[in-house]
Each structure stands twice: as structure tokens, then as C-alpha cells.
């Protein structure tokens, strides 16, 4: 469990959660301030089941994901029909409520002192695998009919509705996928650190994920992944500037949003055919140069 492997794990978990935010915000245009709370739900449910009931790693992680899906449904059903601001507000309230709940239920969760003694199972390669899988999942979704519906309702909800897109249903689906991914990341997180406490899942973390998304480009999975890798590793290497770290980070984001609003990567996606296209381009250029 070296420095680089722990960095790999934390970065990988960020990638998983940010993929969820990509679906929700990047594709469906919705905002959640409470994603970290769904991560908390995943981590606590999986951890508690493992400690109290001796559940194995795989079923515990699955249960964590299911629990965060259920929590997501609870938030989504009443407010998803409303303005997007209200949805953001409801998710924020949910985040605070979850933290209060975790702090209050001392007998079950350990309260502010946190839950400890979760078996250490998660290995860096598992997280890398899970991150790759989640990227693949979101990429598949983006190319599916579902993905096109999301993008349609993000651009113009009324027009999308008129074209026959069940917007309410689609929005709930996008939210659930993002909750599931956050819960998944949370469960893996608990099994890595073996200790979780409510303070780890504040709204600051949710905001950070949104920043990562915007830095990379809200329409580009490639950009989002690259920015997740960069921005979650960057602070580690910026430790020498100590207190200027966060201001620097904010400055970068503000500059990006103002000067390069589509993010560092715009709509560009890396695909398996990209190297081929680049080669073709080179050949074409050479061909033009020759008479």
C-alpha cells in the first residue's frame, strides 16, 4: 500500500464517482450537491454489513450500491419534476441530512468518531478495473438511445418532451446511475481505508467532482477522465505550495470556464480508431505535399 498505490486508489475512486457526475450533469444537465452523501451511503451500508453481519466483500459492495440507489429514488421522485435549482437544493439537503443521521445514530454508525474495523479487501487493481468498467459503461450509455435522450433534454427540455422523450423518467434514470456509481465508489473506499467517518463526505467533495467535470469538458468522457486523473493527482504534487494549493486550483477552474468553456477537451473523444485517423491525416498531408 505505497504512496502511489494509495494515490491510484483515490484517483480511481474519483474517476468512478465523476463518471456518475458526467451522466447526471454532463449528459442530463442536472446538478447534485449531495453526490458525496451517496458515496457515504455506499460506504456505510457495505461497511456495516461486513462488520456486523460478516457479509462477504462482493455482496456487501452490491448491498451498498443498492442502498444508494434506494436513497437516490427517495430524493428523485418528489423533486425531479421541478426546476433544476430545486433539485440541486434537495440533493444538498439530502447530503446534510445524511451527515446528521450518521452523526446521530451513534449506536449503529459510531457517530462522529466514525466506523472502523472494516476488513481491508480493496486492492489497487480492483479499483483500476472498476474505474475502467465504469468508463466503459458511461461510454456505452452515451452512444445509446438513452444518451441521445439525455442530451436532448439537457439542451431543451420542452422540445425533448414534444419529441416524445419521457423526460421525467430519463432524468430519474440519469440520477440513479450517478447515485449507483457514487455508492459503488463509496463501498470500495470503505474496504480500502477500513475507516469511514461522516466528515469525509461533505458537500465540498461533491463540488470538487463538478469542478473536475467542468475542467475536462462536460461533453467529453475522455476529457473528464483526464481531468479526474490530473486534478486528483495534482494536489498531491502541489503540496509544496501548501496553502496556495486550493486558490491555485480555483484559479485554474475559473480560467477554464471563462476562456475555454467547453473544458480542456471540448467535445473530443479518444477512440480506438483515433491513432488510425491521425496516421491517415499525416499521410494525406504528405500526399498533398507531393505533386
Amino acid at each position: 500500500m505505497g504512496f502511489y498505490s494509495s494515490l491510484t486508489v483515490f484517483t480511481g475512486l474519483t474517476v468512478i464517482a465523476v463518471m456518475g457526475v458526467f451522466v447526471l450533469t454532463g449528459m442530463a444537465g442536472l446538478f447534485s450537491f449531495g453526490q458525496a452523501a451517496f458515496m457515504a451511503v455506499g460506504a456505510y451500508v457495505a461497511g456495516l454489513l461486513a462488520i456486523r453481519m460478516g457479509l462477504g466483500f462482493v455482496p456487501a459492495v452490491l448491498a451498498g450500491v443498492v442502498a444508494s440507489l434506494a436513497a437516490g429514488l427517495l430524493v428523485a421522485l418528489p423533486v425531479m419534476r421541478l426546476r433544476r435549482d430545486y433539485f440541486a437544493l434537495a440533493t444538498f439537503g439530502f447530503g446534510e441530512a445524511i451527515r446528521a443521521l450518521l452523526n446521530q445514530s451513534v449506536g449503529i454508525t459510531g457517530g462522529a468518531m466514525g466506523l472502523f474495523g472494516i476488513p481491508v479487501v480493496t486492492q489497487p487493481w480492483m479499483v483500476v478495473g472498476a474505474a475502467v468498467w465504469s468508463v466503459w459503461l458511461v461510454r456505452t450509455l452515451k452512444r445509446s438511445a438513452l444518451g441521445r435522450d439525455w442530451q436532448a433534454l439537457k439542451t431543451d427540455e420542452i422540445a425533448a418532451e414534444a419529441m416524445g422523450v419521457p423526460t421525467y423518467r430519463r432524468k430519474v434514470e440519469a440520477f440513479l446511475i450517478s447515485c449507483g456509481l457514487a455508492g459503488f465508489a463509496g463501498a470500495l473506499f470503505g474496504f480500502y481505508t477500513s475507516y469511514v467517518d461522516p466528515a469525509m463526505f461533505g458537500w465540498f467533495r461533491s463540488a470538487e467532482w463538478i469542478i473536475i467535470l467542468f475542467f475536462g469538458g462536460i461533453n467529453s468522457i475522455t476529457g473528464t477522465v483526464a481531468s479526474a486523473l490530473l486534478l486528483s493527482a495534482l494536489p498531491e504534487f502541489l503540496r509544496f505550495v501548501a496553502q496556495w494549493r486550493v486558490p491555485l486550483y480555483c484559479g485554474i477552474v475559473i480560467a477554464t470556464i471563462n476562456l475555454r468553456p467547453r473544458g480542456m477537451f471540448g467535445d473530443w473523444e479518444l477512440s480506438l480508431s483515433t491513432p488510425g485517423e491521425v496516421l491517415k491525416g499525416v499521410r494525406r498531408r504528405r500526399g498533398l505535399a507531393q505533386p
Partner: protein, 382 residues
Amino acid sequence: MVLCFALAAGLAAGCGRRTETTERETGPIVIGNIQDLSAGASVWGQGLTNGATLAIEKVNAEGGVLGRELKLVSMDMRGVGTEAISAYHRLVDIERVSAIIGPPFSDIALALAPVTEQKRVAVYGYFMDERCTTPSPGRVWNFMFLGQPSCGEAARIIASYAMQDLGLKKFGVLFNRANAWSVAWIGPLVDYVIRNGGQVVATETCQWEDTDYKTQLTKILRAEPEALVFPNYLREIVVQTQQARELGFKGPIIGPNAFFVPFAEMAGKAADNIYFANNIDYGEPHLQDFIKEYRERFKIDPVAHAFMGWDAVMVIADAINRAGSTDPVAIAEALATTEGVPGLMDTITISPHTHRPVGMSLAILKIENQNYIYIGRKRAPD
């Protein structure tokens, strides 16, 4: 994209392996320091780091340890557990530290404890929750050490003073339920009060986000306590004290070392009739050199944590000397048998069974008209 990620991961794994084999045999001996340097409790983190810096300079001026200089490498964990874990890994793998000074936060220490078992580099810190050093009775975290009286001891010291010396019997408590330290502090205090025939007439909680405590205070005051107990952080207790006075409470307020400087100045007129247990008092003769040097160097009064930083370096330097090497495991073993190291806060002897100091005293201070008055030192009753 997949490729990109795999590459990054591979790179990371590769680097990890390379650093494992590097030597620690030449150059300065590196001591790590994990503190909150930028977030909510940075006052304490900065103070601790400043104190440690002065101590390191002193040790180096006197010839260093094992003939080598000491070097302090500080990491900011912004009050977040995962950041502290990353910082720990980084200190161990990259900076190749011999031992680490830990933060005064129990929740952070609880997150670090399992990691230290794997990496085997000791953390000597100020996390007062007993579970940070002994996860369960009879078990001890091999690489976690506490350098001040635990929450239980500190709470018993001030509670026994309040009951025996001040003759108080009825207490009203307001504590931050989301703060692990508050929670760990209040439990033993309530236990002690009840075991000794006192009464806790009202217990209310608050949260980090709370900015107004009048609601809770109004409720507590209705139960007519003789004294109030605020085991919370500086910002909270300033407002809590002011609002309690505003609501007309004139009785004594008792609490933890958060009431030390700069509390009295911040709370203004409300800072009166307050008793608390602190690690040191500015008036104690053996501290004068340190306080003078600290004020000159940092242009500010030392917080209680500055003295902790100094002591941590002294105890670690002593352990390195006795271990006779910079091997972290040998140093951890030496830390467990620390005996009679003269520190600023008291003479430090660590119990090998609990990894906590034995019989360390605290200074009881009173705040009267915004002035700190030294009453005397006290050890924890059994």
C-alpha cells in the same frame, strides 16, 4: 482512454516499487509532520508546526541526533482523513521519514491507525481519544503514540477540580456531536460527575454548521445548572460563552484547553468566571525562553499546541538516540519505552501497554476579567 488510464496506473506502480529500495542512511534524519495547515483548525496546526520547527533548530544547534541533522517535512491534510492517509504514504515512501508528528485530531488518527500497522512508521501525536492508541482494552496500535493526557484524563482533571475545589454539583452540557474530540471528551466527564454524586441536568448538542446556540442554551439554562460545560473548538466556545452571558447566565463555565489564548481576547467581556485545564501556563518559569523566542520568531503568542510541537520533537529525538538507528520500527519500539523525557508540558513517560503518557499533569487556569490566572497543576484522579 483505457490505455491512458492503464498507463497512468502502470507508471504509478512502477514508481512505487522504485522508491522502496532507496536508502535512508545519509543526509538529515527526516521527521514528518501531518497537520491541518489551511482549513478550520489551522491555528493549531500552524502552532504545532512552529513549535516543532523551533525544537528541530535547537536539536540541530546542539549537534543533531546520532551525529546527523534533523529535518522537518510538513504536510497539509486540510482536516480530511483521506488527505492525511495520502500524506502519510507520501511521507513514508517519498520523504522516507523516520517518525511522524501527528495532528491533534482523533478522527484523523483513527483513519491513520490501520495504515500505520502496514507501513510501520510511528505517529506521535495529540489525538486524545483513547481508541487512537488502544483500539480495544488490552490491544494497542503498535505505531500510534499519544503525547498528552487522553480525553478521559483531561476531562477527569477538570471535573474533579470543579467538583472538589469549586464545590459544583449540577452541570449543563453543550457539545458538538459531529466533532469526535467533543464526543470523546464529554463521555468521561459525565461519567465522573455521576460517579461522584453530581448531576448533569441538561445535555444539548450542536453541529459544525450551527452559528447560533441560543436555542440550546435557553433550554439548558431552564434546567438551572450551577455550571456550564463547553467541550468544543475555539470558534464555537467564543460564541457559546458570549451567548450564555447574553442570556443572563453568570455562573462558572468549565471546559478544555480550547479556552486558552486567544479565547479571552476574542470573547471580550464575556470571558469571566471560566475554569479549564490546559497543557501549560504562560507564567510557568521553565517556559519563558520558549515563549520569548516564539514571539520574536512568529510575532504571535504561542497557542497550547506550539508546546506540543516542541515536546513531540524532543520525545522523537530521544527515541532515535536510544534506538541508535533511523529504522522506523526500532524508533517505534524506543518510543514505547520513553521514560522521563523533559518536555515543556511535563516530564514525559510513555506506558508500553497503552502508548499514552503516564501521570502527566495539566495546569488549571481561571479566566477573570479577560485575564488568565494560574491556579495550579493537577493530575487525573483514578
